[in-house]
């Protein structure tokens, strides 16, 4: 996909901070959109996972944010932008098992310190930028390649 090529699909979804009741709704929505577009099950599975982990991060650690989905002929781009506390030490946050989750969040089975780690390992390209006190921005690309199969 050229940078200026018209995407096959583009939309943004709002995620409410702190509301676990609806957590997963946006990623579920994204998954069904990608499935309907006929993308391979591997691409759909990986995109759903990174969308879900991003959504849970926004719910857990921010006042709210947006998940932006852009599908091109050769890639699925998912961007998650939130307004919140941000991350002081990104390298530490990326480590498997490291989490700043509260006890309440952990009791629900979140906050295992696997979210960002999983996002990185399931996407083909991953970029994270963050500003303490402002928020965090995640950019993830899942490549669509015919060779990858289903």
């Amino acid at each position: 996909m050229q940078a200026n090529a018209k995407p096959l699909y583009e939309d943004s979804f709002a995620v409410e901070g702190g509301n676990f009741d609806n957590a997963g709704r946006v990623s579920s929505n994204i998954k069904s959109i990608l499935k309907k577009m006929g993308l391979s099950s591997d691409v759909v599975r990986r995109a759903a996972l990174v969308a879900y982990e991003s959504e849970i991060n926004i719910v857990s650690y921010s006042r709210g944010g947006l998940i932006h989905l852009r599908v091109g002929s050769d890639r699925v781009l998912i961007e998650a932008v939130d307004e919140g506390q941000g991350i002081a030490d990104i390298e530490l946050a990326m480590q498997k098992g490291y989490s700043t989750a509260t006890e309440k969040i952990r009791e629900m089975g979140f906050g295992a310190g696997m979210g960002l780690y999983n996002i990185k390992s399931f996407s083909d390209y991953f970029q994270i930028t963050s500003e303490v006190g402002r928020g965090t921005c995640l950019k993830m690309i899942i490549s669509i390649s015919d060779a990858a199969g289903a």
Binding site: F20, D21, A23, G24, R25, S27, S28, K31, S41, R45, A48, L49, Y52, E53, I56, M108, G109, F110, A112, M114, G115, N118, S121, F122
Partner: protein, 120 residues
């Protein structure tokens, strides 16, 4: 194997999704950490967990699990039950511990469908 056969053999209580008991169980996964389940479970798995809150339904739905088994007689919360009904996710309650629940399910799947557990 068919979910209904597991339900019957183990005496699982069906709390939701009774219309989908004909689902094919291809394997299983045990986990209480949602990120672990998201990353490592597969489509068609029967998910065994002690988590009873509503977020398990979103995970099972996203991963297209055959169903969720709550262990040790744990009942789902009201929200969880409502979401499971709405999404049509089989929500089952096992009287056994997590260990025994998983062991029994594993045995049934391993003896019925060798191909489903081997090549993962």
């Amino acid at each position: 194997m068919e979910l209904a056969a597991i339900v019957k053999a183990m005496g699982l209580e069906v709390r939701a999704g009774s219309e989908r008991l004909n689902a094919e169980v291809r394997g299983g996964y045990v986990g209480d950490l949602l990120s672990d389940v998201m990353a490592n479970s597969s489509e068609g798995d029967l998910w065994v967990t002690r988590q009873i809150h509503q977020n398990i339904i979103a995970v099972a739905s996203l991963k297209e699990h055959a169903g969720i088994v709550l262990v040790q007689g744990s009942e789902p919360t009201k929200d969880t039950l409502e979401k499971a009904v709405a999404e049509g996710i089989p929500l089952l309650v096992s009287p056994f511990s997590c260990f025994e629940t998983a062991g029994r399910i594993y045995n049934m799947i391993a003896t019925k469908g060798e191909e489903s557990l081997g090549a993962r």
